[in-house]
Amino acid sequence: MRLTRTLSGAEASKEVLAYYEEKSMKNWRNDAYAKVTGKAKFTDDLKFANVLHAVPVYSDYVHAELISIQSDAAAKAEGVVRVITAKDIPGSNRHGQIVRDLRILADDRIRYNGDVVAIVVANTREQAMRAAALVTVEARELPVLLDPEKALEPGAILIHEELGTNVINTHKVRRGDVDAGFKQCDLILEQKFETQFVEHAYMETEASVCRERPDGVMEVYGSMQHPFSTRRFVSQFLGVTLADVEVIGTPLGGGFGGKDDTAAIVCARTALAAKLTGRPVKMMYKRIWSMRESYKRHPYRVYYKMGVSKDGIIRAVQTKIIADGGAYCSVTPWVTWRSTVQCCGPYVVENVKCDTVGVYTNNVFTGAMRGFGSPQMNFVVEQMVEMAAEKLGMDPIAFRRKNMVRQGSVTITGQKLDNHAVAMEQVLDAVMKEIKYDEKIAKASHGAKDKDEWYGIGLAMSYRGVSLGAEGVDLCAAIINVQSDGSVLLDVGVHENGQGSESVMMLLLAEELGIDVEHIRYRRSSTSTIPDSGTTVASRGTIMGGGAVKMAAKELKTKIGPVIAPIVGGAPEQLRYEKNEIIGTTGKISFDAAMTEMFRARVFPHGYGLYQAPKVSWDEEHGQGDAYFTWVYGCQAIELTMNKVTGKVKLLNAVAAHDVGRAINPGMVEGQFFGGMAMGIGYALHEEVKMKDGKIVNTNFNTYRIPRSMDLPEMKAIIVENNDATTPTGAKSLGEPTNELMAPAIANALYHATGVRQFVLPMQHGKKKT
């Protein structure tokens, strides 16, 4: 590989791209061969001798006090080995990343229709399913709370009595003086918006296989994006130490934020079944169980008030955000925190009062999903700015330019954006130019009466804080273990969710060591070999994992230098690592031979790297702080037509530009663009988890409609690179930003087509009277 560490930033990126193109490696990933040949072994593909099969048992209740579970008939059914209820749990049945309110098996109450009351373990899955139908539940029904605003009313029944409230959390932003701000305004707009429950719809459902090893360690294979969290759930559930559980990386068939709590719970139940039966146990979720039980994207109700002066400046924003957390807390406080911090979109507003509340209800619980609280707010803000501009008689783009964040701007939480390139206008310009926005907006139909088919174009833009921000502890580890023949083992604490993180880590290491990527093997990840590096969520994989790889390579070189410098000449720290060689002032040695020399010298070429995200701060009382250590900027636009008679919307063409800092694997970067945009289109137009009396009615792909190929337009990705000084690799985030803009872009395009605004998701375009 002709890359060296001396190349950095955008320059290196072009070099990387040229290198891939030359070798047909633009889209290289280490697991693609296995995946395209069917060799990749996902959880349900794993086979263990003597394995048992476990299935969950649900009740018909939505909210009820549990009296008893009768499982005798099931236990006696053909092939059944064991029926497990909460009474069998050796450890704790109280779980949760923030509030420990989640029961892995219902013990006191049923709080939503997806609560599991028992596990049936049998020789075959069919036998387990047949027996599961024989388990009966006796319970006393309780009043059912499905409306978050009713759940906040005094006297409402408490879903978790011990907490004394149905409020999960509150957040706020206080900036300036909104009352004074509104007084300066020539125009005040108020609008209510509502969004829906959304299913992640990962193609692979939750699954786990567990077996107890001869040494007593519980080995956990499973479909999850958070091995360390899974390990915590399993160890606490079994009442054993963290070292007694090993969660082993398994190819993941999609996560999108959804394979966290629910995936961990499924693993914990499977582990318990393996422990109690002494045999390997597999639990593979049917789609209908997955969609019934797994957590969703939060539905929001947003009351938004925006005040502007006639010169086109947003003077004040006041908003109340109500998020339905469903039956359990999960990560509702973190999701709603991001919504709070980003409640004004990428605009500078001097006077802001934002109050956010997460609420318990008896609906399916809600948690992390790609976007994490931003898709809801962008749907609101990017329409509000256009509505305000129109009322002022201003061009909405000009209005945006007047208010958007720029280099050195101060955000609504008081953070000065001066440590990275503020690329808001750059991405906006890139999208407008590519899609020819100015030319096309002039052709929009605006609901013209003389046309049967209306045309519209719309765009939306956002900024987004990178990684966890003040939400959580943000560090990641990497281990490089070079062998005596020069082959390299790499282990990083981020998880391969399907996005290609392993490949990116390998490419970065190849670049650091100046070796071909084929020299590197990515170790099958295990929670027992590397420090807990947190979750592969929040679009933090590349930024955190890449940082750790870079630090580990740095440490490795401090070991290589003193041994190899005397052979090739020059100072240890001045060696160059290029084209599979280590080069000094007087000579050079192949990387492989150098590693043999290292072993001869009894210096192991082993590097450990830890990357900790730069400091962030948050003052909960005043809702102010440096919320994130750096930010990304994105803009998306879409063209569409709507048939006036049928209401049918046809998407014609979509363009997105995102500043990614640096694109390490450009093909995979584009894949994140397209996948995120597609999911955003589903969010805008098609997807909604429908509830009837607290029970989900659409639990499979025939009734829950994710975008199919024909639902989507051709998409164009514009990768903007402003090497980020705050990150070791220059790379930033992309997974989530791509998913947070299509709903408002489509809403704006539909408005320009029809003259009708969209305040509810999914958009009711076909049903609206026009």
Partner: protein
């Protein structure tokens, strides 16, 4: 009854006849490329070729398929491991992310290109309508199929 899977003939008897084809392939033959993801033929993750027709097999039973010739994803590459040009196109186009839909997607595209070696982009988009993918937005999958078409235009017999 007889069933040919990836050019190898099997005699199937007894309880195996009552199985769904997807379970038979996965459990009895350890061909796990075909996935279970919806059980109702809505997502296409279980797609294999039945007599060169792309077929969602989760609702199909072994006993219905007497004498059929099945090609699974495991039968696409050469015995020496060299990828079929369509598989290679998926790699080169970046069409693989989580990979769960990939086997069904490749086989659906293969059956389509066998019949339509010179498709338009719209026809390609239409051809994978029955196969769901949550990761890619289909864009790079469509690119892959488009770039593999010239191979089929040469009239190559494959697999």
């Amino acid at each position: 009854m007889k069933l040919t899977v990836n050019k190898k003939e099997y005699t199937v008897e007894g309880a195996a006849l009552e199985k769904r084809l997807v379970d038979f392939l996965r459990d009895d033959l350890d061909l796990t490329g075909a996935k279970n993801a919806c059980d109702i033929g809505a997502c296409g993750a279980c797609t294999v070729l039945v007599n060169d027709q792309a077929t969602k097999i989760c609702p199909r039973y072994v006993k219905e398929l007497d004498g059929a010739s099945i090609t699974t994803i495991e039968g696409m590459a050469s015995p020496d491991g060299t990828l079929h040009p369509l598989q290679q196109a998926f790699l080169d186009a970046g069409a693989v992310q989580c990979g769960f839909c990939t086997p069904g997607m490749v086989l659906t595209a293969h059956a389509f290109l066998l019949k339509h070696p010179s498709p338009t982009r719209d026809q390609i988009r239409r051809s994978i309508y029955g196969n769901l993918c949550r990761c890619t937005g289909y864009q790079q999958i469509i690119n892959a199929i488009e770039s593999a078409a010239p191979f089929y235009q040469q009239g190559q017999q494959v697999t």
